[in-house]
Subunit: 736 residues, 2 copies
């Protein structure tokens, strides 16, 4: 059964001659939460980091299932730099000697936590090996504003080990900024305020991070480029030309370890020095201080195996019939830090159900118009290795053929969340109107809207266009993609429009994130009991694939793209105004104001001097967005009016015109400091890591006071959007 | 030496024939931090609660000093209901049996903490005796919004004991609202997030509240009326007509105890039930839950001695010469919860230095134009008993004669802070320009301004007029008075304009507040070492008294009063608009939105229905404020232009016209629900307790959705401000 909104919106979803009339019903019949639970239990039965025996075994398991279901399966292997720890050492050497760090302890309530053979100890990938002993400075989140706060108090981290809490920005920025500041080592801990008893009762009493839980992760400088550090921009095939570890820009230089809040307590509670500002305090039961003196000293040492390792992507295809050179690409990674139940295998098992459903259709005689490619990525955790190398390796073909990349990763209980390319948001809402929410029985779209409205009333930060869409019962906007999963190379490097899909918001998987407790037991108890939302994800994403694979004309609407561009420009204008006001306020402060206006027992220096923000040349960008608005409106109106009556020739012409339109958004030079990132529309922030920055060339240049860059990048963005509008106008011509 | 600003502003400060030419120098010569330390040590050497031997002894000590310095001293005694605990019992009866509560432990670093003979155990005065055993519900701050949050989750406190954390509003509101909600007992604890290791290192390592520290206090319903519960509106003389304890509206009905965070941990960490919302979490190291089930049960019992006790105010006078029927009243209380070093004796010793200085002037032949009255109040802590009874007892005379009441209470290290009647703010800034800040050597006014500017830049909430005054180097505005010290009866009941003066912001006395650790040792180590700011307070307040006592014409400016009224009305208009928007949003929520938009495992009901906010008739009030603005501008301009050239007859006429002008601000009917509070300009909030509400009749009626009251109170306020403007116009006539 289709909702009326779907019938009105889609231009047709199947080649007429095919025998399967209700493809969604066939799909749904193959989706089984029980089966997903069995797959999840099997896939999470042993450690799954890149190169581990069980990770390799899972590749075979996944490949075997796809083959059974009728897919054409191949492995795409790459040889990547992936360091694994040979030894990790952390000890307090003063005021008392105490060994810290090491593997997390098993608990009786969690079966696999007692079966850690082959598991790696807590570590962060791509830190710099080293062996240091030094005093410790607490640096809050370890982000630029924190180093400003330290500078205003005359505190330097030069020659020190910093300890930063997780949060405020991506993990990898913390050791990167620490080494830039002259620190010789870095610790990152999970503060219980945000990730521990502050967030939830701790495991096993709740899903929250227990005192000994540690968040592993990658600290490769992914904001410069993700993927294999030795082969930026090209696939890490056996014969690829490689950088050395020392010349690879994304490998850090100082030893870094992640630690638990139990261990952090041993360090932080002993620190001397001035008390930290209010917003630096976490949830540990003592008064936080900066430290920095010889009162507390740590010995930190990490030694890794830096040999090349193999990542193995499992690539499965159903070849297209009428439009075989248009690819619908779908992916989820299967490697984990340890067992990886929530992250990523809860998403992988949902994808398996979809694949089984599509396989059943195939077996029943259905042939998709477009080629469907299902990828199970390896090596996502260390640095999006598998997906990035595959995209780089197949770049030309993907830029030509891929009409969308649909990503998922860990999935959980709660609301549907979809981010990404806005031209698909009509399709997303349409499909979300068709799938039932497991807990309430209403369409997930309805629950999504209710969640937005209730959240807004309760004070959550929700954008005005999202709230008004939810209130009006309209199409919900998609937020822009930053980074943090395998869509990164697709959208930001190859210019393939992408969306990221998952349920969440009500589970407690954050408390097991990247720890040994991210297990089957944790997942079925605290995250998505019964994998009810696993099945819901299969149904949503399976429908997206079905619609995109079979639609005569891709179901795209461009008004939302133009609207987003307009909103992003407005935000940048507002940022510039705010900055100019702040600059004026800072300039008005007299030199002695803080000498008189702060506590002589705990003095605070004046704010650091900064270049005043000038006006930026934004007229051309504004004009380009106006052109895009006009073009999008013309196209959307025409397709809504005439779409159903198009001839086959017109449809073919339209598809041809629309194909690759997003390539217009790629900047020829890439973004400043990181040419690998080429999409002018959004990028992961240089100082947020995962969080998206929109119109990033302009916005980050304003934020970082690179005003010449801002002017230049505004011109580049204007040209890209003008090209995009030209393409759209050309497509609209077909509809005349 | 006078600053130029002072010379320009004051109309003359001494009767010409008197022999003392530089009174401030004589005052300053008598102000000694060393002497204040000696007084403080003596006055805090034993427990000082009302009726304790040492409290009585301090009255004699203070009286003796005043007499030595040439003052006319009398005692003003009142017989008040003041309950003292006979027994306090708190024990966990399930899931384990554990005794809690009782006296705080002494520590070696704090001499008097080991000398607790005669000290009362932690308790709150005017709770309702009782003996109850029941399950426990955590209610956050225990304020109205918290009970709404509970209601939306279907949690009732009926028949339960509530545990609330300190903060968010005045202590006494917590048991009052709890009993209104049907609770049978109440505990109030100091959460370490705001009052413990979150705020400062804990005593003795810092000044912060230690785990076993308890905040005592009054829970008498002071927002209805302060003072003796049995004699509202009249002095509690021996023969006064008295209510019974049962009929006294301000005595609570349910047993209530304050407890430490060590004890709170024993209770809160065991609670079951749903997790609390984010903003309910405190700083204890576990996940906070609502509780309410039989899993955790408490036995709470309090039994008090409810006999009448005597409070003794020490009243000292220097009779005026030329204007003896105009009184400058100055006060500080001397009773404490235990030793009371910071609160209140740090302020009392500063006042003693002033009194010594004025006495020296008197002995040198100086005779003030106006009568100076110095009051050392008893019984402030239980409910502003001494000052309120004295004001009520002398109401007619005070309304006729008192030109100002100048209050201080605990004092500490940091910035000058002055709140109160804005007609004095020019004088306050003038005097603040004359006294040096002990830590930086600049005038306290300059440091005050720097603190405002730096604070604003660092994100503190500072009003626009205060910031612009600080930036312009102008007169700093005074914020309105709520309650919490002895000015209450003066300004809110008698209509005597008042200011409250003290230094603070850099000491750590909050951590010893109302505990046995509020001691000499704590104070000189963590609050105001060397009592440098005690001396600064003496110099500021002494100058205020000298200027006000001797000025030919009171140094008043009314522009700030009119400006405040305008700002308050603007705030109310903005409140109404915000409410109307919120009301519309709430009305737009569909009934099932929260069923779909909240977690079925932890459901949240929709917001409670509320009467929509209509427009309020504010035109008359607006017009009255406009008249006041015109009148104030005319007066201020005329006095600045012609003040210095006034004849003696004109000065006398002007004083007569200005005297008692503030009486116009008293509402004949008093504020809704609490006729004792009569000032239409500001009042302690019914649901803030200490915090001020401005134009309270109107504002609180809007807040509490009593819209008929809002319309009526707007009319009352308009009439009062029109009368005030009339008085001002009449005074300005003299200047023509």
């Amino acid at each position: 059964m289709r909702s009326t909104i779907l019938t009105a919106f889609l231009l047709g979803t199947a080649a007429a001659a095919q025998p399967v009339t209700d493809k969604a019903a066939v799909l749904d019949a193959q989706v089984s939460s029980t089966e997903q639970m069995a797959w999840l239990k099997d896939l999470t039965s042993a450690p799954n980091h890149v190169g581990s025996p069980h990770d390799q075994q899972n590749a075979d398991t996944i490949a075997k299932l796809f083959r059974e279901w009728g897919w054409q399966v191949s492995f795409a292997d790459y040889q990547v730099l992936y360091p694994t720890p040979l030894s990790t050492t952390l000890e307090l050497v003063g005021p008392v000697a105490k060994k810290l760090g090491g593997q997390e302890p098993g608990i009786p309530e969690d079966a696999t936590s007692n079966n850690l053979a082959g598991a790696l100890p807590p570590y962060v990938a791509y830190q710099g090996d080293g062996d240091v002993t030094a005093p410790v400075v607490y640096v809050n989140y370890g982000l630029p504003a924190d180093y400003e706060a330290l500078a205003r108090r005359g505190i330097s981290v030069k020659g020190k080990i910093v300890i930063a809490r997780y949060g405020g920005g991506w993990r990898g920025l913390k050791p990167k900024l620490a080494q830039e500041q002259g620190a010789i080592g870095c610790l990152i801990y999970s503060d219980p305020q945000q990730d521990g008893y502050g967030a939830a009762d701790t495991y096993p009493n709740g899903g929250g991070r227990p005192p000994a839980g540690v968040q592993r992760g990658s600290v490769v400088d992914m904001t410069t480029y993700p993927g294999d550090p030795l082969t930026p921009g090209v696939g890490a095939t056996k014969d690829a030309k490689r950088l050395t570890r020392e010349t690879a820009a994304t490998v850090l230089k100082i030893p870094t370890l992640p630690i638990s809040y139990a261990d952090a307590t041993e360090i932080l509670s002993r620190l001397k020095g001035a008390p930290v500002p209010d917003n630096w305090r976490g949830g540990l039961p003592f008064h936080y201080r900066f430290g920095g003196s010889d009162d507390v000293k740590l010995h930190l040492a990490v030694k890794s195996d830096w040999s090349l390792k193999t990542v193995r992507n499992v690539i499965a295809k159903l070849p297209g019939s009428t439009r075989a050179d248009e690819w619908v690409v779908r992916g989820n990674h299967y490697d984990g830090w340890v067992f990886g139940a929530a992250d990523p295998l809860s998403g992988e098992v949902a994808m398996l159900s979809e694949a089984k459903g599509l396989g059943a259709l195939w077996k029943a005689g259905w042939r998709p118009a477009r080629t469907i490619v299902y990828a199970s990525w390896d090596g996502e955790e260390p640095g999006l290795l598998g997906s990035t190398e595959w995209v780089e390796h197949n770049l030309a073909e993907l830029r030509q053929k891929a009409v969308i990349y649909i990503n998922s990763d860990g999935n959980g209980r709660g609301y549907l969340g979809v981010d990404g390319s806005r031209q698909f948001q009509h399709l997303v809402s349409t499909v979300a109107g068709e799938v039932k929410d497991p807990q309430t029985g209403v369409p997930v779209l309805e629950r999504w809207r209710a969640g937005v409205r209730a959240g807004a009333f309760e004070g959550e930060r929700i954008s005005a266009d999202t709230l008004s869409a939810a209130e009006a019962g309209g199409v919900l906007p998609l937020d822009p993609l930053g980074s943090g999963s395998d869509y990164t190379a697709f959208i930001h490097h190859a210019g393939v429009p992408s969306i990221n899909v998952g349920f969440g918001g009500e589970g407690e998987s954050a408390g097991s994130y990247h720890s040994i407790y991210d297990s089957y037991d944790h997942f079925v108890r605290w995250d998505d009991p019964g994998l009810a939302y696993g099945a819901a994800l299969s149904k949503v994403t399976g429908r997206l694939v079905l619609n995109l694979a079979d639609a005569d004309v891709l179901p795209l609407r461009f008004g939302p793209v133009a609207g987003a561009a307009r909103a992003y420009l407005t935000e940048i204008r507002s940022l510039i105004e705010t900055r100019r006001k702040d600059d004026a306020k800072r300039a008005a402060l007299t030199p002695d104001m803080y000498k008189l206006g702060s506590d002589p027992r705990d003095p605070l220096g004046p704010p650091l001097a900064k270049a005043p923000t000038p006006q930026i040349e934004l007229a051309a960008l504004d004009n380009a967005i106006a052109r895009l608005e006009t073009a999008a409106k013309a196209f959307d109106t025409a397709i809504a009016a005439k779409g159903a009556g198009l001839t086959a020739a017109q449809k073919t012409a339209l598809n041809a015109k629309l194909k690759g339109i997003e390539q217009s958004l790629l900047s020829p030079s890439g973004l400043p400091f990181r040419p690998w990132f080429r999409n002018i529309f959004s990028a992961p922030g240089r100082f947020t890591g995962y969080g998206a920055k929109t119109l990033p060339g302009v916005r980050e240049a304003v934020e970082e006071r690179r005003f010449d860059d801002a002017n230049r990048e505004a011109g580049i963005a204007a040209k890209a959007l003008n090209d995009y509008a030209d393409r759209l106008n050309a497509a609209a011509e077909v509809l005349k």
